[in-house]
Assembly symmetry: C2
């Protein structure tokens, strides 16, 4: 796969050595996200709203209520900036400047296109669930539910990743200090599943919930 | 403490029952954050950048390089929207509509003020470290480092929290389905500490790193 092409918006100005335009890396960072943060302007004010995100091939999708202002603003063609960040570790250096975080992030610029076709919407909405919680099956969507959901497609054109994974990098003279330095890796884990109190008798906690490993990375 | 006053920007339009203006709740959500997502407009385009955040009393602080475009844009008075999100659990419902995430989020609107005083800057930069990794001591900041760091203060005026913590809420007829539903709680945990390969002999991994519990909630 060819890399994404840097644009005016996605050329990383600060620390360009951390910039990546590799499709597979970008995809993996998006696919691991439970939420993204969507930036847009409404009433002249920048706004940032968290929401779930789905990727299928070279598009990402946001969905929600047609009363959601973020979605209606973007449906009208307002430019969006979709940001995804995974904090992988705390970097404890010997100086303040030496402290940092290791992270993987992606930023996507673009405009949304409304997904009109009910069948495509239905398929995408099943994919959202299977992406967030692989294995979980829900009853068939009702036409009224599909109708009451706005789905926006954002082609992955203007996109870049930024990664810091170098751990501690202190200024040379600081390595002589009698000080500890290192990296504390961080990850998201699942805890004990809370069954719905209204489960029908005989329904037990499924394996995919008991051993949840995070959002799926599989392709749709 | 009195609540924050809802404004045009912070009055929650969708699902107002999830909105909160309680200061202690807002503070706790901010204080738990390793990163926030900062929205702003530069060159006419909305942008969202992840960065660390510190709260002291009724102000939050962003910091970084004076070459960082997000910071320089905000230092010039561009309006910002700072968003913080904690995903607390995956809500697996019996329908697509019944699937959701439990979360706590905060959004802050405002303009940044440059912190000029080197002593105040130094104190804030120590506080950032102590907030992210309580117990970690670094060598004294150099004047040149303080000078090469831009610190912006954002008073907490226009701010709101949004919380979903109700778990599964399916439509009534779906409770008859032979389907599992429940909540998978999520949390961030630390893994095995990676000591810097250039540690001096005799320096051992400190307790605060081995048993890292997340960003401090203590006051400065």
């Amino acid at each position: 796969m060819s890399d994404y092409k840097p644009t005016e918006n996605t050329r990383v100005l600060r620390r360009p050595e951390r910039a990546h335009y590799d499709r597979e890396l970008v995809h993996s960072i998006i696919d691991e996200a439970l939420v993204c943060h969507v930036g847009f302007v409404a009433d002249g004010t920048p706004r940032v709203i968290p929401t779930t995100i789905l990727r299928v091939d070279e598009n990402v999708y946001l969905h929600g209520s047609p009363q959601n202002r973020m979605l209606t603003t973007l449906a009208e063609g307002a430019p969006a900036c979709i940001s995804i960040t995974h904090v992988d570790g705390i970097v404890a250096g010997r100086s303040g400047f030496g402290c940092s975080v290791d992270y993987r992030s992606v930023v996507i610029f673009g405009k949304g296109e409304i997904v009109d076709d009910p069948e495509e919407k239905a398929k995408l909405l099943y994919a959202v669930i299977d992406s967030v919680l692989p294995g979980h099956k829900v009853r068939q969507h009702k036409d009224s539910e599909i109708g009451a959901t706005l789905v926006l497609r954002f082609p992955l054109n203007e996109v870049s990743a930024k990664v810091r994974d170098i751990g501690v990098k202190d200024v040379e003279s600081d390595y002589d200090l009698d000080a500890w330095a290192g990296v504390i890796p961080l990850r998201i884990v699942s805890g004990e599943v809370q069954d719905d109190v209204r489960l029908k008798p005989g329904i037990t906690t499924p394996e995919y919930a008991r051993n949840y490993l995070g959002p799926s990375r599989k392709q749709y």
